[in-house]
Symmetry: C2
Subunit: 279 residues, 2 copies
Amino acid sequence: MRTTRAPDPGHVRVRLDLAYDGAGFAGFARQPEQRTVQGEVEAALTAVLGQPAVTTAAGRTDRGVHALAQVVHLDLDPTVPRAGPLLAGRDLAALRDRLARLLDPSITLWQATRVGSGFDARFSAVARGYRYRLIDDLAACDPRRRGEQWVVGEPLALTAMRSAARHLLGEHDFAALCRAAPGRSTVRRLDEVALHRPGPGRLDVRLRGPAFCHQQVRSILGCLVEVGRGRRDPDWLREVLAGRDRSRAARVAPPHGLTLERVSYGRRWPGAPPRWVAT
Amino acid sequence: MRTTRAPDPGHVRVRLDLAYDGAGFAGFARQPEQRTVQGEVEAALTAVLGQPAVTTAAGRTDRGVHALAQVVHLDLDPTVPRAGPLLAGRDLAALRDRLARLLDPSITLWQATRVGSGFDARFSAVARGYRYRLIDDLAACDPRRRGEQWVVGEPLALTAMRSAARHLLGEHDFAALCRAAPGRSTVRRLDEVALHRPGPGRLDVRLRGPAFCHQQVRSILGCLVEVGRGRRDPDWLREVLAGRDRSRAARVAPPHGLTLERVSYGRRWPGAPPRWVAT
């Protein structure tokens, strides 16, 4: 499974770092007849470079989920007319600028780099980091940013949520907390679930692990909010996890509160999220 | 002109502190057949308190302009059925919560207070503060927040813009830099025009003064960006201001980059913007 296809001879491998507002897309992954982030990016690449463009991504975010630091790679033929100058050098700023002007403002292409053929946006990633933003007091909602936070509207018990979150740390079968795909393991390792209040009435949850299953973060958040609302004890989440039965878990949290904020590739391919991530 | 109408006998004066995303509104001020912030807030007040509600605001923001700290006042009759309990005490949290649940999520009512009859949201205000957010590098745009910043897309010269801004400080006739209303003075005092970069590719302009004319901030911004782009010298702005001729100024900047962030009422009516303003 975890093998990286080498580029065709004569092709160069390019890494793109993207941010997007998930609101107007049917998710990241290309789908026929749907507006998707991958579809838009590939169309822009084809328009600028005059060749087919097929990207592989670090994380296929769901419909409505945002990203500040999505990473994709693809292989391109520099011998196609006009493509050569745009693919020369390591920092492909000219390519980035050409693409950025074509892309809808809901997608920011903040970096384009030429990388070695060993780099794979999906399989070289060693960690993925998400942030989920909650508002638990209507009066604390900056209405300009309501598209990036879930307004729960009743006070959440932070200490109880932290106790519940601790049950999830480490390696577990997350079958109860994700949408299973036939034949695929639901065993994952979770290295961090950090809850903090950046201000009154606001609660941020940061999650980090090598990889996540489909809807895992939103399912975890749905359960943590049940605990925060006092409808469940913190230990209920341990039982749900152990039961491996999705019907016992809470409903998934809405997608718009979630942002893919970081994908790490270790020392071999250093890189940082854009400096505006924290703002 | 600058007189405050006292409430009718038996009425109580209420102050509301509001935030809103200006995107979906035809501005703040009530207009027939249009969706406005004032119209929505007054309709919610009437629904909750069973009586007509006519508000007076600190700043009538234009179509598309946001606010984090708009202030309005109105006079209400506590003898109307159901209104009494909601208008008792100083902190009207119950009223705030009832209204908040009725209002569209693009409006946050973050505070409701009973105030003395000497308070007037418009005429008691001693200072108003605005922030305009600019992005001068496409790669620095957080796409989730593109609705609150003007993406200029080419590098702006901060030092030149600061030199130009200095010409505006103090009291001037701003006829060249606002949309005049017949019979109304365009003399205003500007106490602060502060430019800084909160991160690479981003530029914030904060403006503060006792009061502003119609479109004054957006007109100033339009001119500052012309200077930042190198199309005009900093001293050009001094000439524009002195000429009092609006046709010599630059086009107004788009409204969505602008937010009313603060209205101050001095020591007699202390108050602070919501703590989430800075985030």
